[in-house]
């Protein structure tokens, strides 16, 4: 057990998986000698060499597509896109090939690869470096989408993603990369993809989030208790495709109220889907409209205004109180 930041925890998962399985290889821009712009791939190039850790040319479609090719060939590539805002350069390869080979070939050829990318705002970065557009992938059949919110989850879910037989989009909340440390077991640990977890049990209202907004959501949960004597249940989805509908439905059937929180744009975001499912499966239990505390439907602002764009505990509390006072 060691206390690790998320970066170190991810790095641990990479080391252990590369060690355990020679088919696991890493590629991406600056992941080798430079060890990744966030240092997630630290030590790998030195340890496993340039035939397992590839410094790719500057072409996202190429990185994604050659990884698909390598996966089809039998390797288990973990490709890094330097920032999720540049994944769109290879959108077509994800939609047309990565997500489809299993179905297209009736299971004969598959793409067991992981596509990692840091996402989300808050680090005073230039345009395109603060995106949260995970909803694109949630809308795309054939993909799994995993977003951890802390070091231990990051390590255990990346571990699971690497062994998953299907392609996994793995978004890493860069604001949390070094935000805090957590105990992470030394031995390989794997958490099941597709399962949410209740990080704070409660009875009055359900707060549903994942990834980068989990911290503020938990903070909001605490604030609701401290300031308003409200007992919120807080759920961390962890996987957003497939979604653990049961866990959220059960919670909302109990609490009757919910707020969904994410940084991504509101319209057609993950929150809309959560509301649709709760509408379908918890209709009779709902005592108030489900609120969305999300990114607005404008471009992520240049960073002088990013803090007012991002959901924070105050906004979540406000949303929760509106729901409770409905």
């Amino acid at each position: 057990m060691a206390e690790l930041t998320m970066v170190k925890a991810l790095n641990l998962a990479l080391h252990q998986n590369m060690e355990a399985d020679p088919r696991v290889i890493i590629c991406g821009q600056d992941v080798g000698r430079d060890e990744g712009v966030f240092r997630v791939t630290e030590g790998l190039y030195n340890r496993f060499g340039e035939s397992r850790v590839l410094d790719s040319p500057l072409a996202e479609a190429g990185i994604i597509a050659t990884s698909i090719g390598m996966a089809l060939y039998g390797l288990r590539p973990i490709a890094e896109i330097q920032f999720s805002g540049f994944i769109y350069q290879g959108f077509h390869q994800i939609e047309q090939h990565m997500a489809r080979f299993r179905n297209r070939t009736r299971g004969r050829l598959t793409v067991p690869m992981v596509l990692r990318a840091p996402y989300g705002g808050g680090i005073r970065a230039v345009e395109h470096h603060s995106e949260s557009k995970e909803a694109y992938w949630v809308h795309t059949p054939g993909l799994k989408v995993v977003i951890p919110s802390g070091p231990r989850a990051a390590r255990a879910l990346l571990h699971a993603a690497i062994s998953d037989p299907d392609p996994v989009i793995f978004y890493e909340p860069k604001i949390l990369y070094r935000a805090f440390r957590e105990e992470v077991p030394d031995e390989p640990e794997s958490w099941e993809i597709g399962k949410a977890r209740i990080v704070r049990p409660g009875n009055d209202i359900t707060l549903i989030s994942y990834g980068s907004t989990m911290r503020v959501t938990q903070e909001a949960g605490d604030d609701l208790a401290d300031l308003h004597n409200i007992d919120a249940e807080v759920i961390d989805l962890m996987t957003i495709k497939p979604m653990d509908t049961d866990t959220i439905v059960q919670s909302v059937r109990k609490t009757g109220r919910a707020v969904v929180i994410h940084e991504g744009h509101r319209t057609c975001g993950v929150g809309a889907e959560i509301i649709a499912r709760l509408n379908e499966q918890a209709f009779d239990y709902l005592e108030a409209p489900i609120r969305r505390v999300t990114g607005y439907d404008i471009h992520f602002p240049y960073f002088s205004c990013e803090q007012v764009y991002l959901p924070d505990a105050e906004r979540i509390v406000r949303g929760a109180m509106d729901t409770l006072n409905y």
Binding site: A61, T66, I68, G69, L72, Y73, Q96, R106, G107, K144
Partner: protein
């Protein structure tokens, strides 16, 4: 402080061996025995025959829209010939002859164009990808496969084929670059059939040849008469050997012509003249190869006839197998999105099956 021409490390070549009259340049002629020559011939005839039959079937509504390949038989059989079983092929959608050569079942070609995923299911024991529909999206997968081979240190090679139009797609150019950077064992074959639907080659790119695009990525390009199966074999064999040696990729431009419409939904009269098509008819890859075989005494008219008949039978048998396979399997629709059905897909599948059942029972009532 000079101003001077840069000397490049690579140049672009041009090659043809067998002319339209079946005359061969003996200095360049590959050493193929009669059996091999006839096997090649048969594959070209099979490609032509299948194409003709599919066109009829399409017109009768027995298959959907497809992309005929008449005129491009030498190109595809030529480039597929040197490939070994353990090699990989990432095919174009206009080369069923190459796919069949590799071990795809004839009926799969028909299934593919008739709306059945079974037509895209690589047969067991075959190392190829199915046809990709998004133009230019697959050569970069081949580059990845080649990188995998390189990383694993095998002696395999991957070949990928694509059209002239495809070379405008960024993906194809990225493929050229990745293969070059990693010196991956990739053979790129551009089936330059002069058109991308209606767009003539000259409007696709200002480059005089497709072959020279290789220079941008630091390796050899070669332009070859794609209606000359011998030249195709020679050039591809060289490129395959080079790749197998570890000396990296090659770009081959097979200069050929699409004798038919782009797909059966297309009307080529809108954008090209009959005269042009007639000119190319003279360059038929089959005719010149037949002349060559006869000149070379590898076959006589009778043997050629027998081969034709044999091919007709084979195609006929395939069509019959195809008709039997044409049974939609809606109940399988949900089963291949993931290795395991996710809970949400499980629920949707149930909803879907209930609707199907309702429909079936109503249909039975009527």
């Amino acid at each position: 402080m000079p101003r001077r021409k840069l000397k490049l490390q690579h140049e672009v070549e041009e090659l043809s061996i067998l002319d339209v009259d079946g005359q061969v340049d003996t200095a360049l002629e590959p050493a193929l025995n009669h059996d091999e020559l006839l096997r090649i011939y048969r594959a070209m005839v099979l490609t032509r025959e299948l194409d003709d039959r599919m066109l009829k079937m399409q017109r009768q509504g027995r298959i959907g829209t497809f992309a005929p390949c008449r005129g491009q038989e030498a190109t595809q059989i030529g480039y597929i010939y040197p490939m070994q079983k353990e090699d990989w092929v990432v095919p174009s959608y206009r080369a069923p002859g190459a796919q069949i050569w590799r071990g795809w079942h004839l009926e799969q070609i028909l299934l593919f164009w008739n709306g059945y995923e079974e037509g895209a299911r690589t047969p067991e024991g075959v190392n190829d990808l199915p046809v990709a529909i998004p133009v230019g999206s697959h050569p970069i997968l081949a580059a990845g496969i080649g990188m995998g081979m390189k990383l694993q240190g095998t002696k395999q090679v991957v070949l990928t084929a694509f059209g002239d139009g495809s070379t405008s797609e960024g993906d194809v150019l990225e493929a050229f670059n990745f293969a070059g950077v990693y010196q991956a064992p990739v053979v790129f074959v551009c089936e330059n059939n002069q058109y991308a639907i209606s767009l003539p080659r000259a409007k696709q790119t200002r480059a005089e040849t497709i072959a020279q695009k290789a220079l941008a990525f630091g390796y050899d390009g070669i332009k070859v008469d794609g209606n000359d199966v011998l030249a195709m074999i020679v050039v591809t064999t060289e490129a395959v050997n080079k790749a197998r040696r570890g000396d990296g990729p090659t770009l081959i431009e097979a200069f050929t012509y699409r004798m038919q419409m782009h797909t059966t939904a297309d009307d080529p009269k809108k954008y090209r003249s009959d005269e042009e098509v007639k000119e190319w008819e003279k360059k038929c890859p089959l005719l010149r190869f037949e002349k060559y075989l006869i000149n070379k005494k590898a076959a006589d008219e009778k043997l050629l006839q027998e081969i034709h008949q044999d091919v007709i039978d084979e195609v006929q048998a395939g069509l019959e197998r195809f008709e039997k396979c044409c049974v939609p399997q809606p109940d399988k629709l949900f089963d291949y999105t993931y290795a395991q059905l996710t809970p949400e897909l499980q629920a949707q599948k149930e909803e879907f099956l209930a609707i199907l059942a309702q429909r079936d029972s109503r249909n039975r009532k009527h």
